[in-house]
């Protein structure tokens, strides 16, 4: 059961993707992540006795890829899942608290509860106990408070929207974060490319207009373009203009049809540095 998690940690120590947090040099001890097994003969484990994973997100919902990952991890480790939705924008500032803020808080809580409903279904399907907490304030503070309120939280996983510096502080727990700008982007690496049909049509229309201008005035065009001497600039300028407009049309047409260069075969010298490959799965990053 723990094999998967041990592997993940071992991978980190080999330096495949090193965390940038302050605790990155300290070796991880797998011992303190070991779930507590119920004593033999004590029957089925009580939900509150189980160890827990705390997942933290800044919005009212979590990115789908992130939540899938957390649920899979909880299922494999036989942990419970605590989901914390934090909204730092609605933290209490001073003594005064406006009804408008209160209204916003209520709205956020409602949205979070609604979003939780579908996650709860997934949790139920996977046989995991889950609980949702909504807090307003700094992320680090909220996590700290929660770890005091709810016992047996073993580690924290933060959603992609949370920056490293937001979660550093006096958190007495290992914090892992999902690398990447957005969790979904890591989970679904194929980019949703927008087809540039608009540009194709625009440049196509301009190209067509230029061609029409030349061919509808064929006789006068030919008269001046073939005069020679300085008139030589006319055909040369024309082909330059056409190569730009029609070239742009052709470029957008091929990319709209889905025909695009697949890779940079011959990187230029400045681009020769090895580019880190985007991993198809989200990664855990230790940031204690």
């Amino acid at each position: 059961m723990l094999d998967f998690f041990k592997k993940q940690l071992r991978g980190k120590r080999k330096g495949q993707k090193v965390a940038s947090g302050p605790g990155k040099k300290q070796p991880l001890t797998v011992v303190n992540l070991k779930p507590v097994r119920p004593e033999p003969g004590s029957g089925s484990p009580q939900p509150e006795l189980k160890r827990k994973i705390l997942v933290v997100g800044k919005g009212h919902t979590f990115s789908a890829g992130f939540m899938d990952y957390a649920i899979n991890l909880a299922a494999r480790l036989d942990y419970d899942l605590i989901a914390l939705n934090v909204n730092p924008a609605l933290k209490a500032s001073g003594k005064f608290f406006s009804p408008y803020f209160l209204r916003l808080r209520q709205k956020f809580t409602q949205q979070a509860r609604a979003a939780w409903a579908s996650i709860a279904e997934d949790l139920e399907f996977s046989g995991i106990h889950g609980q949702q907490v909504v807090k307003f304030g700094e992320v680090a503070r909220a996590v700290e408070d929660l770890s005091a309120e709810i016992k047996r939280i073993d580690f924290v996983i933060t959603d992609a929207g949370i920056k490293d510096e937001e979660i550093t502080g006096e958190i007495p727990l290992p914090v892992f974060s999902i690398t990447g700008y957005q969790g979904e982007k890591i989970m679904a690496p194929e980019p949703v490319s927008r087809k540039p049909w608009g540009k194709t049509i625009t440049f196509g229309a301009v190209t067509a207009a230029l061609y029409a201008a030349v061919f509808l005035n064929g006789s006068s065009v030919m008269k001046y373009f073939t005069r020679g001497g300085w008139y030589a600039a006319l055909p040369i300028a024309t082909v330059f203009v056409i190569s730009f407009v029609h070239g742009a049309f052709a470029h957008h047409l091929w990319s709209a049809l889905g025909i695009e260069a697949v890779k940079r075969v011959q990187p230029r010298p400045e681009a020769k540095r090895p580019v880190p490959r985007k991993r198809p799965r989200p990664e855990l990053r230790l940031n204690t």
Binding site: T238, H246, A250, A261, R264, V265, Q266
Partner: protein, 358 residues
């Protein structure tokens, strides 16, 4: 002179068939030159002439379409990091000299042996150069593909790169450090061949690969820079003479700008030795085509006697073979692109499956 040219160009009547022919040949020629750095001209010029365009106008209009096409292709491939601009400009400078010398030789041949002699000289140059160089390129491509597609720098290039003969030049993208004196003959030969058979790339690209030690990708992309510079220079010369039929140029350009970008994109789909395979194949077929035209010129010079019907058949066969060379090149390029695209789609599907169930 200008008036005559104007009359000559005005004389051509464009119809749907000729427009369609020029557009399609332009597209296929563009596709091939986007992929291997040159090509298309050897079909376009005789093709236009067979439509009734005077030889000088055909050459001028073809030249005028060549440089914007090369510009777009070079820009596209520069974005993929394949173009060595410095190498291209150095080669183009010496190629300019080569063109002038090539033209002088042509004029000498023309003065001494007449039009038939000149044609024979051109055809013989085609056959000799293309069979020797094309044969070697094809053999090398076949060898590379047997090795699993891994390109190797020739021992000649390695030897020349070791010779320290100032001024030494560093071509960064090509990753070649070589004396300028070894680039000059390659550029010169490219220019001479361009002046003789109108396709300098058939010697420029293999020269850059086997003599200088650049990769097939960089060589074919850099050839587009040479083609741009030379095409631009040639166009200025022809346009000052008033020989460019802008309508013909624009029709060819309509097809070739589409083709050249597709060809450039194609280079990112395939293994590097595919460029050599396409190039070698086209060169050998073109050599066969020009070989078929030789008996006609030999007869005109009175060196052999032959039935006129046979000569006509040979002439037609020669032109068809020429079109075939371009067509086969295009089929190979599109075929490999199609396969690569299919493989990519299969990989994506597999990944999606893994994501769903894994």
């Amino acid at each position: 002179m200008h008036d005559i040219a104007a009359e000559a160009v005005n004389f051509i009547d464009l119809n749907l068939v000729s427009v369609g022919f020029l557009f399609i040949v332009g597209f296929i020629g563009g596709l091939v030159s986007g992929f291997i750095g040159s090509g298309g001209a050897f079909v376009l010029t005789p093709g236009m002439m067979s439509l009734g365009v005077p030889a000088a106008v055909a050459v001028a209009s073809n030249m005028c379409h060549k440089f914007p096409k090369a510009l777009v292709g070079a820009y596209k491939r520069y974005k993929y990091g394949q173009v060595d601009i410095k190498l291209g400009l150095v080669m183009a400078a010496s190629a300019g000299v080569g063109v002038q010398v090539g033209i002088k030789i042509q004029e000498m041949v023309l003065a001494r042996w007449g039009q038939a002699g000149s044609n024979l000289y051109v055809s013989l140059s085609f056959v000799v150069v293309l069979v020797v160089v094309g044969g070697y390129v094809f053999w090398d491509a076949w060898r590379t593909s047997r090795r699993g597609g891994e390109e190797q720098v020739t021992s000649l290039a390695k030897y020349l790169q070791k010779i320290h003969l100032p001024p030494m030049m560093h071509f960064k993208t090509a990753n070649v450090y070589i004396s300028m004196w070894f680039t000059i003959p390659i550029g010169f030969a490219t220019g001479m061949l361009a002046a003789t058979i109108a396709v300098g790339g058939f010697i420029g690209v293999p020269g850059m690969i086997y003599v200088l030690g650049a990769s097939g990708l960089v060589s074919s992309a850099t050839e587009l820079v040479i083609a741009f510079v030379m095409g631009f220079g040639g166009t200025v010369k022809w346009a000052i003479g008033g020989m460019v039929d802008i309508r013909l140029t624009l029709i060819i350009l309509a097809g070739s700008l589409l083709g050249v970008q597709l060809g450039a994109i194609g280079t990112t789909y395939v293994k590097e030795h595919m460029i050599k395979i396409v190039m070698g194949t086209i060169m050998i077929i073109v050599a066969v085509s020009r070989g078929l035209a030789i008996p006609k010129y030999l007869k005109e010079l009175g060196l052999i006697s032959m039935n006129n019907t046979v000569l006509t058949v040979l002439g037609v066969a020669s032109f068809i073979t020429m079109c075939l060379a371009l067509g086969i090149g295009a089929v190979i390029i599109l075929g490999t692109m199609w396969q690569a695209k299919k493989a990519e789609a299969a990989q994506k599907a597999e990944y999606a499956l893994e994501k769903t169930y894994g």
